[in-house]
């Protein structure tokens, strides 16, 4: 990905704020001062627990919401304005597509699959004849691994995995430059999840589409993403390449998140205790944090003091041992890794 760094980013989100006013005295700060970039053809994974604002970011980027403050630039166009002019809106609706979480709820049950997929083409008049339209739909169905004959069926006649393939086909047919995948595999079975993720990887290789992959399952995010951003309570705490985040997590929340993933290794898992993280008692104030460079493209949001404390591994070890008694959970991160 280093070669791409010199290019202008495809999508640039800077200091995005998205507040929801609940009442006169209470405002939910769903997204608070979040900045990140997505380059052409790469996959950016956004992870965080429910309520961290990851879906809100996705929806703000595709302009389902009006951002409270900040700027979103897509291909050099400012798309933050409240009233988009017609040209910008058409390009935006054309070049940015979304795949939703629940394929049953996001596909119109009264429409045939071919019409659901072709709807974007119809709206943007992207064909000159009916034959061309149908040809396009057939080609895209084939691409996502569905037989073209299945186009004349309705969504309820498909299985969960197939339905999500339809959702992907619907997004892909516009040849978008950026696809926002909002928890697109969480509703699927384990064996089907792998199929869909592989499909998305293949398609990305073939078409060079950039992907904003929103999920709470870190192991899947690691597998598909080039870079990752960790969100908590509306703040982007840490961002960097997948290797940087997984090999050297700096923020305590990222550490807790990583240690919470159970590995399919019973001997280890039986005795391992996941790190705990509690924002209220941790003494960390997200609002005070500023972006600190750890190395490469790896940034962490914290105060100067916290930065020193967290990057000093020796202190981290001590901190953990004092909290947990004799056994240092911290050592887990410094275990020899295979092939290194």
């Amino acid at each position: 990905m280093t070669a791409l760094k010199n290019e202008a980013p495809l999508l640039e989100v800077s200091h995005l704020k998205q507040y929801f006013k609940v009442s006169n005295s209470f405002t939910v700060k769903a997204v608070d001062d979040v900045s990140f970039q997505i380059y052409k053809g790469e996959t950016y994974g956004l992870v965080g627990e429910s309520g961290s604002g990851k879906s809100t970011i996705g929806r703000a980027v595709i302009r389902l919401y009006d951002p409270t403050a900040g700027q979103i630039t897509f291909e050099g166009m400012d798309i933050t304005k409240k009233k988009l002019d017609k040209g910008t809106r058409t390009t935006l609706r054309h070049d940015m597509q979304m795949i939703f979480q629940d394929p049953m709820a996001s596909l119109n049950p009264r429409k045939k699959v071919e019409d659901i997929i072709g709807e974007g083409l119809d709206i943007h008049h992207s064909y000159s004849s009916m034959a061309e339209r149908n040809e396009k739909i057939k080609a895209i169905l084939k691409k996502v691994g569905l037989a073209p004959e299945l186009g004349s069926r309705y969504p309820h006649q498909f299985s969960g995995g197939q339905r999500q393939r339809v959702g992907i086909a619907r997004a892909l047919i516009m040849n978008p430059k950026l696809i926002i995948a909002d928890e697109c595999i969480s509703a699927l079975d384990v064996s089907i999840q792998a199929q869909v993720v592989n499909l998305m990887k293949d398609i990305q290789e073939e078409t060079g589409t950039a992907l904003l992959f929103i999920a709470h399952d870190l192991s899947m995010v690691k597998y598909i993403s080039d870079r990752i951003g960790v969100l908590h309570l509306g703040h982007l705490l840490e961002t960097g390449t997948t290797d940087e985040i997984f090999n050297n997590p700096v923020h305590p929340y990222t550490r807790a998140l990583l240690s919470a993933i159970p590995a399919p290794n019973p001997i280890v898992e039986k005795r391992r205790i996941a790190l705990e993280y509690n924002y209220k008692t941790s003494g960390i104030d997200y609002n005070k944090g500023t972006s600190h460079l750890v190395g490469g493209t790896h940034y962490v949001s914290c105060t100067d003091e916290e930065f020193l404390k967290w990057t000093n591994t020796h202190q981290f070890d001590q901190f953990m041992t004092s909290k947990r008694g004799t056994y240092s959970e911290a050592q887990e991160y410094y275990m020899p890794k295979d092939g290194e």
Partner: protein, 365 residues
């Protein structure tokens, strides 16, 4: 027979069909499950494999259109005088099960804490409900016990929380309340049906830790129903892998994870991305789970199995014995079958896992 005595629950040859408008769905096809007292079993499988139906049968809460074709579910418990009793749950009527088994002996934790709690009742009342109904506990005593239970499941300021309604609590807290309700009548067996699927990873870790703690302290038996092999690795002693209404592999946890024999188990283990995976492609099982409306001759997994043999489409494989505790239903284990090893990537990963375990041991000491 000595072994039998120690089992808290034994499911024998369970066979269940559902009558639907589209026809009979043969959901459970001869399931055998045993659980020793004080241990933890996990039932793993995809949605529609019949794992929840099996446990619902054990609770006597099957849907009305279910028909039990054969089988028995023997549950051993101590009755009010402390005498040990064994009953076949399938033969008892619903009222009796309601009075003597549900809540008192077997309690269940469901997947979604939002739908399993009553939104119109305070959580305190919901916890006390079972005690008052089953044991006729006086209200003050029940209240005291409910507060203790909330404390036990790790809820701060329990007295304040007693007056809260479910919508005032977060997802993780709600699941803690559900666990408190399940524990209210001192059950001997806890069935957790996907207890953490609706929760975030960090909260999942806490809830699992809680269930383990409760199990340790109370010495109860637990059955987990899940599709997450990571969670299973954390909790289970014994694992049953289910596919299309049948147990296809069963064994001690280490046997299933380090020496899996069934191609479906291979697929499940490979499909899970572990944090050390650097492969380009994730292994996936082709196709999708079968529709049980149309019964298939032979092994139900064969259409998705790249190691399938000719016999798989003709005859259902029996359970082949691998070790005293490890069994798998695949023709690949037949002495006449060609020798097939697990996929290379999986073998490598298991090697890596074993190494990781050794490293972990040495680090700990």
């Amino acid at each position: 027979m000595e072994e039998k005595k120690n089992n808290i629950i034994t499911v024998k040859n369970l066979d269940i069909s559902f009558k639907t408008t589209a026809g009979m769905v043969h959901a459970i096809r001869g399931v055998n499950i045993e659980l020793e007292r004080g241990t933890t079993a996990a039932i793993v499988g995809e949605s529609g494999s019949g794992k929840s139906v099996t446990m619902k049968a054990a609770m006597g809460i099957l849907d009305k259109n279910a028909i039990v074709n054969s089988g028995e579910i023997n549950f051993t418990y101590a009755d009010e005088e402390g005498k040990e009793q064994t009953v076949d749950i399938l033969k008892q009527d619903k009222k009796w099960i309601r009075k003597n088994i549900n809540g008192r002996q077997i309690a269940m934790v469901f997947q979604d804490p939002m739908t399993s709690l009553d939104p119109t009742m305070t959580i305190g009342k919901q916890i006390m409900e079972g005690m008052i109904w089953h044991y006729k506990t006086p209200k003050e005593e029940a209240y005291k016990k409910a507060v203790e239970l909330l404390e036990e499941v790790g809820i701060e300021e329990p007295e304040k929380r007693m007056k809260n309604y479910p919508h005032q609590l977060s997802g993780g807290m709600r699941q803690r309340v559900v666990i408190a309700i399940a524990l209210a009548c001192n059950p001997k067996l806890l069935i957790c049906d996907e207890p953490t699927t609706a929760l975030d990873v960090t909260i999942q870790a806490k809830i699992i830790e809680l269930i383990r703690k409760v199990q340790r302290e109370r010495g109860i038996s637990v059955i987990y129903i899940t599709h997450d092999l990571g969670v299973v690795a954390k909790v289970a002693d014994y694992v049953y892998v289910m596919y299309a209404g049948k147990i296809v592999e069963k064994g001690l946890i280490n046997e299933i994870y380090y020496e899996p024999k069934h191609p479906y188990t291979w697929g499940l283990l490979s499909a899970m991305p572990d944090l050390e995976t650097y492969d380009d492609r994730l292994y996936s099982i082709p196709g999708s789970p079968p529709n049980l409306l149309h019964e298939k001759v032979g092994d139900a997994f064969s259409p998705r199995n790249k190691f399938a043999l000719v016999i798989d489409d003709k005859k259902e494989p029996p359970m082949f014995k691998v070790t005293e505790t490890h069994y798998a239903a695949t023709w690949l284990l037949d002495p006449r079958a060609p020798k097939v090893d697990m996929p290379k990537e999986l073998a490598e990963r298991i090697e890596r896992m074993k190494k990781g375990a050794e490293n972990y041991d040495s680090l700990k000491e």
